[in-house]
Amino acid sequence: MKQEFLDCKGMRCPMPIVEIFKRMKGMNVGDILTVEADDMAFSADIRAWCEQAGQKIIELSCEGTVKKVVLEKTK
């Protein structure tokens, strides 16, 4: 199980999810990806994306304008 980090701060919709999508393609099932983003719609978008794309959110937290999400690649 690998741990990876992706910084999406400064990116706006739809780029954070595009970058997460691209990064996850190169990961294996079970790997963990931690993402930080400050796009306003990020919390809602990452939830919707995970539901549709079948990925798992382990943790979603908010610190000021920065949202941190821990994702597990499940497929």
Binding site: G10, P14, V18, A53
Partner: protein, 189 residues
Amino acid sequence: MTNNDVTSTNKIMQLAERVDVLEKEVKNLNERLNKNKFTILLMSGDLDKALVAFIVAAGAITMGYQVTVYCTYWGLNLLKRKTIFKDTTILEKMAKVMMPKGPDQASLSRMHMFGMGTKFFKVLMKKNHVVTLADLIETTRMLGVKLYACEMTMGIMGMSRDELIENIEYGGVETYLKEVVGSEINFIV
């Protein structure tokens, strides 16, 4: 066997046949209805509308859809990379001069105000770190969007394939409809 029994057996056999026919039909329909296709008919070349179209396209790809963007009329200008005046009529030359060349020259659908509004909007976009239309189109292409150019409209505007970006597909209404029929979602922008 009584008469009643014979009638019921016949009815059951008829029903069984109907079920066979229906099962085949359902299988046929399932094959035609590809559940993960998303088609966008982009006839606008306006900056704001095209941004919406390509943001939705990018999002749909990340959500597992195969996305097709079919560009026609003003939308074709977004696929342009250069203008060639050679071997065109005077009317076509005039049309070419008036058309925007590529996504960088696209203007807002409202409040363009002779270019001032669009310039202002672009500054706001940059300030908010929103990607430019050109970058967004490039991103969706890298993600695997299928781009089509409408050949009928290209004919009207006197556009040649050499003027458009490379690695796109060409076709007419049937090509577009074939994509739509197999799509779960179709957007018209």
